[in-house]
């Protein structure tokens, strides 16, 4: 009994240390955002801020000082549109791959997994040339399409494995009852797939919201910039104010962390299914 208690204490201590170490940067992000300018550059560094202020958050959110809201709405627009399109196009494609038979289906299924490996930096040079060639440079729509397509293979995989788990007999019964294929999708398959659709939405939203690479090559004017590149540009000069930088970083992280926490239960399973084909 006593040995078990000791074991428990050790286990809990280790867990605490692991979680605390992992979250340490987040702790510093928040506390530095609350420190005064003097406090953030104090030596020895302050682990607990001696003096706290909300000034940096107010500065960051004040449009007269800082274009945070403009970048925020650009990011929101890009991430929301991308996620919405991913859900629509992904559901159609995934339903087709999961439930309908047509020539070339296997090839597309296999091909999309290979395509999954070719994104990011490998597409940057030709995409930049093509997109500037057709006059979509510095256009948020180009970013939306790029983020949409680079996440599409994962979207298809997550959704089609979910659709496959819905029994065919359910759909057949509904069709015998006189529902058309569209009605079956709209009235039976989609409502049953809400968890999967929500996780895909959150996953794509997260990728588009966090994207730095494609935004940095596709967008150029401050009016169009999303948070990652906007912040990078604002804070690339050496005379930055740590407090503002951390407040802006914190506010940039909040929406995705919040969204992730809502669907975490589903998304962790989905990521697993999407990554490993077992």
């Amino acid at each position: 009994m006593k040995a078990k208690m000791v074991k428990n204490v050790i286990l809990n201590t280790i867990v605490f240390i692991v979680v605390a170490t992992t979250l340490l940067p987040f702790y510093f992000m928040l506390t530095t955002a609350l420190k005064t300018n003097k406090g953030s550059v104090a030596f020895p560094p302050q682990i607990f801020p001696t003096e706290m202020t909300l000034q940096h958050f107010m500065d960051v959110l004040n449009p007269a000082i800082f274009p945070f809201w403009r970048y925020f709405f650009n990011s929101l627009q890009v991430a929301f549109t991308t996620a919405l399109l991913a859900v629509i196009i992904g559901s159609m494609g995934a339903y087709s791959l999961a439930k309908l038979d047509f020539p070339g289906r296997k090839l597309i299924q296999e091909g999309s997994l290979v395509v999954y490996m070719f994104s990011g930096i490998l597409l940057v040079v030709p995409l930049f040339k093509i997109i500037s060639g057709i006059g979509l440079y510095d256009n948020k729509f180009a970013l939306v399409i790029t983020c949409l397509v680079t996440t599409l293979p994962a979207t298809l995989f997550m959704l089609s494995s979910y659709f496959t788990s819905i029994p065919v007999s359910l759909e057949e019964a509904a069709m015998i009852d006189g529902l058309s294929r569209f009605q079956v999708i709209y009235k039976i398959v989609m409502p049953l797939s809400i968890p999967a659709i929500m996780s895909v939405f959150a996953y794509v939203f997260m990728i588009a919201w966090n994207d730095f690479l494609f935004s940095s090559i596709l967008l150029s004017t401050p009016d169009n910039m999303t948070l990652p590149i906007g912040l990078r540009q604002l804070f690339s000069s050496k005379d930055y104010v740590w407090g503002r930088m951390m407040a802006a970083s914190f506010l940039t992280a909040v929406p995705v962390v919040f969204m992730f926490s809502l669907v975490e239960r589903f998304i962790t399973g989905g990521l697993v299914a999407g990554g490993v084909k077992e």
Partner: protein
């Protein structure tokens, strides 16, 4: 409706539904890949009205004779090797820990995933603060408290230290992915196996070797391959953290967008393609053997 006309309708609908996906993937991935191969054999003109000049293999020859390119390639292999081992090992250890029963397990599991979810830019900024040479907490602890270094290490300016920094950052950022996958594989193991082992008097190490390891090994294998591919063309966190670690992604980006030599950058991309393709091929063969 007859059986065969139903089938035809099904197949038409199936094609119709997949069409948007096909159009998008063809125009945003497949066409650019082909176009990139074309570019890699040309001197790409910056003026859109002027045609590109065909230069045969010149871009490739330039690269292969360039020490900085070869150096970048070797650096990338070193980066991939260390980050893959570390992120997988850390993910495995934390999965083992979080698979035990304790109070608050659910919340602990969610919290350690945060580095994987938050935007890179925010995380890079706070790391820059924590590793700052003058008032950063890391140097305070390692130099002033533990005396591990004689002089304050220049994390962002010294090539070796910068490499350590980006490896550490990537490990911290992506271990949650390995953690999630390995944990899911562990949860799928039948409890009765462990109960039987308990009856036989097996200790924890024996149970890990005989039951857990064989079950999670396929997942760990896939993880290693996937992470190797992804980290092979890693760009953003390394680029944002320091200028001292020009791995392939950074080298490619700079060639294209700082030097503006798109032909050369296209040739780098093709070489990366070939390496990644080889990795994908090896992965698929490995997958078949299982």
């Amino acid at each position: 409706m007859s059986r065969s006309s139903f089938k035809r309708a099904e197949s038409r609908l199936g094609f119709l539904f997949i069409l948007p996906t096909l159009v998008l993937i063809s125009s945003i991935i497949i066409y650019p890949i082909c176009y990139n191969i074309y570019l890699s054999f040309h001197r790409v003109s910056l003026n859109p009205l002027k045609p590109h000049k065909f230069v045969e293999l010149k871009n490739y020859l330039t690269l292969l004779s360039d020490a900085s390119f070869v150096n970048s390639l070797l650096l990338t292999f070193a980066y991939v090797f260390t980050t893959v081992i570390m992120s997988t090992a850390v993910g495995l250890l934390i999965a083992l820990l979080m698979n035990r029963k304790f109070k608050g397990r659910g919340i602990a599991r969610s919290l350690v995933i945060l580095p994987y979810v938050a935007p890179v830019i925010s995380l890079v900024f706070v790391w820059q603060y924590m590793f700052n040479g003058i008032y950063g907490i890391v140097n305070y602890v390692t130099v002033d408290m533990l005396h591990l270094f004689n002089a304050p290490p220049a994390w962002f300016d010294h090539p070796v230290l910068s490499m350590a920094l980006v490896v550490l950052f990537d490990t911290w950022r992506v271990f949650p992915y390995s953690f999630m996958m390995i944990l899911a594989a562990m949860q799928a193991i039948d409890d009765s196996l462990y109960e039987a082992a308990d009856i036989d008097g097996a200790n924890s190490w024996r149970k890990f070797r005989a039951i857990t390891m064989p079950e999670i090994l396929p997942v760990v294998g896939s993880l290693v391959v996937l992470r190797s591919i992804w980290n092979f063309y890693k760009f953003d966190d390394v680029y944002l953290l320091t200028k001292q670690v020009p791995i392939m992604g950074v080298y490619l980006y700079e060639t294209a967008f700082s030097v503006n030599d798109y032909g050369l950058a296209a040739a780098i991309t093709v070489i990366l393609f070939i390496i990644v393709m080889t990795m994908v091929f090896l992965m698929r063969r490995g997958g078949l053997r299982r």
